[in-house]
């Protein structure tokens, strides 16, 4: 879409599964992956006479999420019935919120841009259809599970920005401990509205809704496809039809599902079984206070208080578990001010590299943060060199043993003894008269090869900065 005369407008509707113990309107367990129809009761299968009772934990988590997204919480919100017939919907209506949602007017910052969130509302999930050759079965385990729907303003201007928004949203909600936000498991689902309009025009074009995108990449690809499709229609002088389109991952394209005329009339009306949801200010404040530190605040702290670079801070804050790992390692640093940079780079490069290769995340990581802190401490106080640290790290990773123990056992300790280093340095100077002369004539660059000589002689165990210092000392005496 570069050099196009059109600009893209995207709005995202994201459904997120809350990780409460029980379902939204009954007390069935809210779990993923159990045998079909084992987590059901008269209420969540829509038996006659059953009534919904909103669970406090669901409300609490929904409020947490909304606060984490900088929303205003409505003290008074309404559950409504959204009506349509579908076999995965036991009552043939979904209890949702429509006119008065739980929360409104939030925002998140994604890629340096503030994107407005229009609303966050609560609703119950439907069951799951299992299609077989000749029949369709329904599993109601998920039916009635608590969801929040997060609706962005139509302010996203490109498919990559949409993906960026989703990543940020996911990061915040995982930080707030309200959801796993796993798109593959379906605990995070995204529908998108996209329209094009002329760059100079402020009137939005006709939009299409895109569904069935199962990863951030799919969202980005589907939206990019949809933008190109709309653009070529417009360039041909054709109109965009307002419709819902499904993304086909295999064919890499969207296909029409239903037009506006075929759209459901959901016949929303306030659910008479549920009084208005009153969220008292004290309840909201209590939740606000118990919210964990969110990525933006954490990043700021890392930069301002700990002195990390913005890039390093953002890498460390990507996941809450990673940040927690970093922080507990940081606590164990002997020289925090000098060691932090090293610690950060060890986590971001060595550790993450290993984790990615092994397919591990911070939760499943067996190696404790104290090992890494210890390793950095050993480097900091000159016990081992950076190169040795890498070898030791390999051993920590495979054997899950403390670095000090490994150093001790393998005799890997760096040569820091002044005498030994001095001896090695003198040897280097004696055996390399040419380099020595060059240095003494003012070409101080030759110190490098001299250090290299010492390192080689010591089989890498000499402390390079000490070697450097000592060489200069001896040579300067000769000047």
């Amino acid at each position: 879409m570069k050099n196009s005369k059109y600009k893209i407008t995207i709005g995202l509707e994201v459904h997120v599964h809350l990780k409460t113990r029980t379902k939204l309107f009954c007390r069935c367990p809210n779990l993923y992956g159990s045998d079909p129809n084992t987590l059901i009761c008269p209420v969540c299968t829509g038996q006659p006479g059953t009534l919904p009772v909103a669970g406090r934990e669901s409300v609490r988590q929904a409020v947490s999420a909304a606060l984490a997204l900088n929303c205003n919480i409505n003290e008074y919100s309404i559950f409504e019935r959204k009506q349509y017939f579908y076999p995965d919907l036991p009552k043939n209506y979904q209890i949702s919120q429509y006119k008065l949602p739980l929360a409104e007017n939030g925002y998140i910052k994604a890629g340096g841009v503030k994107i407005k969130i229009d609303r966050v509302h609560m609703e119950e999930d439907a069951g799951k259809l299992v299609h077989r050759e000749k029949e369709t079965l329904v599993d109601y385990n998920r039916g009635g599970a608590p969801l929040i729907e997060i609706v962005s303003a139509p302010e996203i201007t490109s498919p990559p920005q949409a993906a960026e928004y989703l990543k940020k949203l996911r990061q915040i909600l995982i930080y707030a401990s309200v959801s796993d936000c796993d798109m593959e498991k379906g605990s995070m689902r995204c529908d998108a509205n996209l329209s094009l309009n002329l760059k100079e025009s402020s009137r939005l074009g006709v939009k299409t809704e895109v569904k069935n995108m199962n990863s951030f990449k799919a969202v980005e690809n589907a939206l990019a496809y949809e933008a190109r499709r709309q653009e070529s229609l417009l360039l041909e002088g054709k109109n965009i039809v307002q419709e819902t389109r499904l993304w086909d991952e295999d064919k890499n394209k969207t296909a029409g599902m239903r037009t506006k005329e075929e759209a459901h009339d959901y016949r929303y009306f306030p659910d008479p079984d549920l009084p208005p949801l009153i969220v008292a200010e004290a309840f909201v404040e209590d939740i606000r206070e118990s919210l964990p530190e969110l990525p933006a605040a954490k990043m700021e702290r890392y930069i301002k208080e700990m002195g990390l670079e913005e890039y390093d801070a953002s890498v460390l804050c990507q996941e809450r578990d990673g940040a927690d790992f970093f922080e507990s390692a940081y606590e164990k640093l002997e020289d925090k001010k000098e060691g932090i940079k090293k610690l950060s780079s060890w986590i971001s490069t060595e550790l993450k590299g290993k984790m990615n290769a092994a397919g591990l995340d911070f939760k499943s990581l067996e190696m404790g943060p104290s090992f890494l802190a210890e390793l950095v401490n050993l480097i900091q106080n000159g016990k081992i060199s950076g190169k040795m640290a890498k070898d030791i790290f390999e051993i920590i990773w495979t054997e899950k043993r403390s670095p000090a123990e490994i150093v001790e056992e393998k005799g890997l300790s760096q040569i820091s003894g002044e005498d030994k280093i001095e001896r090695l340095c003198r040897k280097a100077i004696e055996e390399n008269p040419a380099l020595t002369d060059k240095y003494l004539s003012g070409k101080e660059g030759t110190i490098g090869p001299l250090v290299g000589f010492v390192m080689k002689e010591s089989r890498g165990q000499a402390n390079p900065s000490m070697v450097n210092k000592k060489l200069r000392e001896i040579l300067n005496e000769k000047k």
Partner: protein
């Protein structure tokens, strides 16, 4: 003045036992099968329960306040293991997977459920004639309707099969049949009896209540079934006061209003006469009678026929034949199967109301109908509140007529709907109202009058109705 208390005494004293009481009741039920009061009778289970009660009494255990009392339950209330058909082909084979809170409380008090009673299909009707299992007959005149929708519950109490029954009242479905059958029926304040386990017709209007042969019995039953239930979010968190203990207190000085609009040409003269005569008795007993005005009552039927069908259209949507209920196979897709099942299973009145409700909630009509009706509902509520600043209770006919003939109104829907004109507004406002038989017309058909009170004024209603009931029976004897 209490069948329940005297039966209980007889059972506890040993002059009767629960088993014989239940057997007697079952005999009456089978003798009166022509009345068609019952949809499913659970005689064997009832007798088993009765012998359990007898056993308890023998052992000296507390058998409960309703020990061994046979009762009836309207067939829209779930009782675990029993069918709950709602008088519909849709749920003809539906076996309840759990028990409604109100029923559970009755059972816990030792009541014995004889069976489930006939009703208008899904409680939609005023005559009992929309039942898929045929109309219930009025025991007082079997050519006539017992009223509806709690037709069987009213008829079986009136025919003395059981001393008490549970009904539900959405627009008069307890009070109007009680009036037609000459017994007592109470629709309590919305929210004091749990709706958990009551197949919903119109959730914001439905309320469970007692049908009994005397005011005291109705008070006893309500005391048992009322109370906060965390399974019903619309349930009121308040303790149930003892209704029975103050029922004999004086009604001296109680201010009672007679609404002029209920006593005009639309109301049959014999009904008006009986209500007026009863009001004179009330005055004689020390109550202060005055005329009041409820001009908005005339809009109640219109408001009701928007709100109730709207809620019903959503409440009945779950009946699609997929998980339970009658399931027709169209041989085509999901929607065709659902359409086929619902077409076959629902009667005409249910279909009419589903369509009406779907229409008023549709985009483009919602604001004009549903929202407007909600606003009018608030006005009707406010009007009652204004009147209750002036009087303690309202006393008025329950229905403009006495029991009409079966078939008389089935051809004229509007006429049928208008038979609820005096009962609907109490549901819209959520206030309590009790029907008391106050006389007979020239055909010896019972005339019912209702006491309506402010929210949670059940105690005053029971006391006043009890006083009038006593006075009426003593003046009858003279």
């Amino acid at each position: 003045m209490s069948r329940i208390i005297s039966l209980r005494k007889a059972i506890l004293s040993g002059s009767k036992n629960a088993s014989s009481v239940v057997k007697e009741s079952l005999e009456k039920v089978s003798k009166d099968s022509n009345l068609n009061c019952w949809i499913n009778i659970y005689g064997k289970e009832a007798l088993e329960k009765a012998s359990e009660i007898d056993e308890k009494i023998k052992k000296g255990e507390d058998p409960g306040r309703l020990c061994g009392i046979p009762v009836a339950v309207k067939d829209n209330m779930l009782v675990r293991g029993m069918k709950t058909t709602n008088a519909s082909r849709m749920l003809n084979e539906y076996i309840s997977p759990y028990t409604a809170t109100a029923v559970e409380k009755m059972q816990a008090a030792g009541a014995i459920i004889i069976g489930k009673t006939n009703m208008d299909e899904f409680a939609m009707g005023s005559s009992g004639e929309t039942s898929a299992f045929g109309a219930t007959r009025n025991p007082i005149d079997t050519a006539r309707s017992p009223g509806g929708s709690s037709s069987g519950s009213a008829a079986c109490v009136s025919a003395d099969h059981v001393p008490a029954a549970l009904g539900s009242d959405t627009g008069g479905s307890i009070r109007q049949p009680a009036a037609f059958c000459g017994i007592v029926g109470m629709k309590p304040t919305y929210g004091i009896v749990s709706r958990y386990g009551i197949s919903p017709f119109s959730s914001s209007l439905d309320q469970v209540g007692p049908i009994a042969s005397t005011v005291l019995d109705a008070a006893i039953i309500l005391e048992i079934i009322a109370g906060y239930d965390r399974r019903d979010s619309t349930s009121i968190k308040k303790e149930v006061p003892g209704y029975a203990e103050t029922i004999n207190d004086s009604i001296q000085g109680v201010k009672i209003g007679i609404p002029a609009e209920y006593m005009q040409d639309g109301t049959d003269p014999p009904v008006r006469d009986s209500v007026l005569a009863a009001s004179e008795l009330l005055e004689k007993m020390g109550a202060k009678i005055k005329e009041v005005s409820l001009p908005l009552t005339k809009y109640a039927v219109s408001v009701y026929y928007i709100i109730a069908p709207a809620e019903a259209s959503a409440n009945l949507a779950r009946l699609d034949g997929i998980r339970y209920g009658l399931s027709a196979d169209s041989g085509k897709d999901f929607i065709s199967d659902v359409t086929a099942s619902r077409t076959e299973a629902f009667g005409i009145e249910v279909k009419r109301r589903i369509m009406l409700g779907t229409y008023v909630l549709s985009s483009g009509y919602y604001e004009d109908y549903y929202i407007k009706a909600q606003k009018a509902r608030t006005l009707i509520k406010n009007e009652f509140m204004e009147v209750f600043k002036d009087v303690d209770l309202i006393f008025a006919p329950t229905s403009p007529t006495t029991a009409f003939k079966l078939g008389e109104k089935t051809g004229d829907i509007l006429k049928m709907y208008l038979s609820d004109v005096f009962t609907i507004s109490a549901n819209l406002a959520g206030i309590p109202a009790l029907n008391l038989p106050v006389g007979r017309d020239s055909k010896n058909l019972p005339v019912g009058a209702q006491f309506m009170g402010n929210y949670l004024s059940e105690k005053l209603i029971f006391r006043t109705a009890h006083a009038l009931e006593k006075e009426l029976s003593s003046s009858e004897k003279q």
